[in-house]
Amino acid sequence: MTKDNQSTLQDIHYIKDMMEKSSRFISLSGLTGVFAGCFAIIGSVVAYIYLGSIGSAYSEFATSFPRHTMWDDLVFLIADACIVAFLSITCGLYFTIKQSRKKGIKIWDSTSKRLLVNLMIPLLAGGVFCIALLKWGLFGLVAPSTLLFYGFACFNAGKYTHKEVRYLGISEITLGLIGVFYIGFGFELWILGFGILHILYGVIMYFKYDTKA
């Protein structure tokens, strides 16, 4: 006998491992999702309190299509969203770099480049799309559109990292579509999509991949 059971099994594991490592970016840390989710919730609460302080409920704000655009309020909300995005990306990078060091994998290689390109193209398109919505005063469509385009981005990028990201994408798309029909619930759906779902998928990924050496 030339090959025993042990080495056959090792060969198969090695093949699978190599295929996985060379085609998917596996250093993405689940903690990224958990922190992004928390920041999103904090950011939403800030926005909620702010809208409350100016005496405008979100549902009112979303459906009013005001002619005299409240630019100051809009600037506040956009700044709030940008801070959330900045903190999430910074934290995500920190945990992902840490994770890839732990696993001894290079962070900038063909898998991470592919992941980034596939994530960024739908995301940037969504960003530009939302700017156009703001220009036309269609505020209510912004929240569901961010969910939709983020969902497209995750669904697309999920091919190149943990498959949970793909499921996250499908979930976000679903919420976005619901939001387009129920514009008044944009706020709640946004918290659900960017807050709760991020934390949920983040925890799943953390226990599935991060804790495994």
């Binding site: 059971n5 198969i12 190599m18 290079k106």
Partner: protein, 98 residues
């Protein structure tokens, strides 16, 4: 039993070649440096294994100039893909038979 062992491809009876083929099966093309880093090999070591696979027509080697440097990229051939898939099948059969 003996039959299955005969189905195992001798060309893949080596960790490095197993790695090269695995990577090429899931990536359209991979360049020399990336392959070297991914498998943690020396230049010479990778080159000798690649040339063995090239001789069998399992791997296609493409050389091109990027500025003044040559860039070498590898692709799996249709023959190589088939051979490697058969090899995996044989490995799996071997595992299940016992």
């Amino acid at each position: 039993m003996k039959n299955i062992i005969e189905q195992l491809n001798k060309a893949f009876d080596n960790r490095v070649r197993l790695g090269i083929m695995s990577i090429l099966l899931v990536n359209e093309e991979v360049d020399f440096n990336e392959m070297k880093e991914r498998l943690d090999l020396t230049d010479g070591n990778l080159a000798s294994h690649i040339s063995a696979l090239e001789k069998l027509d399992y791997v296609l080697v493409k050389k091109e100039f990027v500025g003044k440097k040559t860039k070498t990229t590898y692709q799996v051939s249709i023959l190589g893909k088939k051979a490697f898939q058969d090899h995996i099948k044989a490995l799996e059969k071997l595992l299940h038979k016992k």
